[in-house]
């Protein structure tokens, strides 16, 4: 049997194992046809090498040493981390939520202390999310300066620290999931779509050290210079604690991001398609905020709502109805979304729905039960969402 082109090429390139090499040499000694083929392929290879040699560097070592490049890489990563965080925070989708969170923290600190009161950790109170309330927000109504505030950017990078406790990892079943996270995990029953992932998502902690002078500069920048920061709050520590949680996915939830990245995809500027077959459930103990006590929460809430675009009167009226110590007021961009209060899992929850087109809609259902916050998303409407929530065991 004659040699294949691949064998001859590997022989020429000295890429054959020793046994194969000996076999090819022996065959070439006796086979005229393969000798001719060997010459043809060798000529082709020589020609190609000559052509590609044109691309070789004329002078050596024109690029920087690995040490220098490593320093560049370190600097660029630092810069990118800063930019990415800022970009994500100020993206149209994320901006209301993140800005809202930051503003709440800023205002909580800035407006609530009796000026003469000393700051100490013993004054810290614990606020736990027990329910959700939605406020629809038109991002265009947010203070324009928020997205371009250099002072806020500085504060977010210097005074705000985000600690993630590791990457998500898969667990085998509900029992293992419960053991890992320390609460009883519940999963939907009777799902038609297959379970394709059950992951522990390690939590994290966001800490914010108040730099009162800078907070004042930011408030000035966004047109709220009427709010004065007591100097005593300088250096106070506010902590947002996000416990370990569980994420589950049913149906087709794969974007194959890895393949996209390898193809040059920019994961920091994603254009991700909708996933009409994907249902997700996230559950975790309610996040908590530790912050100085004696907060005038209603006043903070009012300012927060005004920053989200409400008039002073609307904000005042709305703020009176909310228990700000236990309610996470979720700013919801008004991009074709609707929301309603629903009874779910024996408690009160919030259903957000969005029409993707004439025939397709998707939902996000949020509720808190027995100290565990649940967020369920997927295709369909209210009945689909409530049926899945009802089936949790």
């Amino acid at each position: 049997m004659h040699l294949s082109d691949g064998e001859i090429k590997a022989y020429q390139d000295q890429e054959l194992e020793i046994n194969s090499q000996q076999r090819v040499v022996a065959h070439l000694d006796t086979c005229t046809r393969c000798q001719q083929r060997n010459k043809v392929l060798n000529d082709l290879s020589q020609k190609l090498t000559t052509d590609l040699n044109a691309l070789d560097p004329v002078t050596k070592n024109k690029f920087s040493s690995a040490n220098t490049a490593h320093n560049w890489l370190t600097a660029r990563l630092q810069e990118k981390e800063t930019n990415n965080m800022w970009k994500k925070i100020t993206s149209p989708q994320a901006r209301p939520v993140w800005i809202g969170l930051v503003i709440v923290i800023l205002l909580a600190i800035s407006m609530t202390f009796a000026p003469v009161r000393a700051i100490a950790n013993s004054f810290l109170g614990l606020f736990r999310v027990e329910q959700f309330t939605i406020v629809q927000v038109n991002p265009a109504d947010l203070p324009e300066q928020l997205g371009s505030s250099s002072q806020l950017e500085y504060l977010l990078t210097q005074n705000l620290q985000i600690e993630e406790r590791g990457e998500a990892y898969q667990v085998a079943d509900k029992n293992e999931a419960s053991q890992r996270v320390g609460f009883e995990v519940r999963l939907p029953t009777g799902m038609i779509k297959p379970l394709n992932s059950l992951d522990v998502q390690p939590g994290g902690q966001v800490t914010f050290v108040v730099d009162s002078a800078r907070v004042q500069l930011i408030l000035n920048e966004i047109g709220r210079s009427d709010i004065q920061i007591p100097e005593e709050v300088d250096g106070a520590l506010v902590t947002l604690e996000i416990p370990d949680g569980i994420t589950t996915q049913y149906g087709n939830c794969e974007y194959d991001l890895e393949r996209l990245r390898e193809a040059g995809y920019d994961p920091d500027d994603p254009k991700i398609p909708q996933l009409p077959d994907c249902i997700t459930l996230v559950q975790l103990p309610s996040p908590t905020i530790t912050a100085p006590t004696e907060l005038n929460l209603v006043e903070i809430g009012e300012a927060y709502l005004q920053l989200l675009g409400m008039s002073a009167e609307e904000a005042h009226e709305f703020a009176q109805k909310v228990d700000w110590s236990t309610t996470f007021v979720v700013p919801l961009p008004n991009y074709g979304t609707a929301f309603q209060d629903v009874s779910v899992d024996g408690v009160s929850g919030v259903l957000i729905s969005q029409e993707l087109d004439e025939h397709t809609s998707q939902f996000m259902l949020m509720w808190v039960k027995d100290g565990i916050a649940y967020v369920l998303t997927g295709p369909g409407g209210k009945s689909t969402a409530l049926n899945i929530a009802r089936s949790l065991r």
Partner: protein
């Protein structure tokens, strides 16, 4: 900042593959070689370095799930980014002006060794690489840059036994297009 303490690297460091699991080791092992590959593709030191850095940034920030073949992943991503840049350049009709511009730019500081004929040949070779099949072009550039069949197979997710055959096809494809 230490590159090895941050969160994204934790899953590289904890990989079972001992030799090339540490990010810094991967960087120092592969920096020169990746720069040379990218230089061959792009013909400019600065751009080659820039894309090499981008490759390592992607590894740092978005490492692949599987840590078995990080070297292969690096060469795959580097060549993809390099060819993307080459095609983008083509889209800007870069070729129409480039040779003349480089000659002007390099009259004094750059590459006095390079004459117009060499530059034109370079551009013709690069143009040909963008015209043939993407996998063929990557095979040729990686092999010409000194990667072994095993390394090429890992980088391009091929069976090692098929590399010889595919290289021969790629060479024919190139020469046919180059004529």
């Amino acid at each position: 900042m230490s590159l090895t303490r941050k969160r994204k690297l934790s899953n590289i460091e904890h990989s079972s593959e001992q030799e090339s699991t540490d990010f810094d080791s991967l960087f120092y092992q592969n920096w020169d070689r990746i720069c040379e590959i990218l230089y061959r593709l792009l013909g400019e030191w600065d751009e080659a370095q820039d894309i090499a850095l981008e490759t390592f940034m992607q590894l740092y920030q978005h490492p692949p799930k599987s840590k078995d073949n990080l070297n292969g992943w690096l060469y795959r991503v580097a060549t993809n980014l390099g060819f993307n840049a080459l095609r983008a350049r083509k889209r800007r009709k870069f070729y129409e002006n480039r040779a003349g511009l480089i000659i002007l730019e390099n009259n004094s500081p750059g590459q006095p060794e390079m004459n117009l004929e060499q530059l034109q040949k370079q551009e013709r070779v690069r143009h040909t690489l963008t015209k043939i099949k993407s996998r063929s072009a990557k095979l040729l550039i990686l092999r010409h840059s000194g990667l072994t069949y095993a390394e090429i197979a890992t980088a391009l997710k091929l069976s090692p036994g098929s590399v010889g055959t595919l290289l021969t096809r790629a060479e024919r494809e190139f020469e046919k297009q180059y004529k």
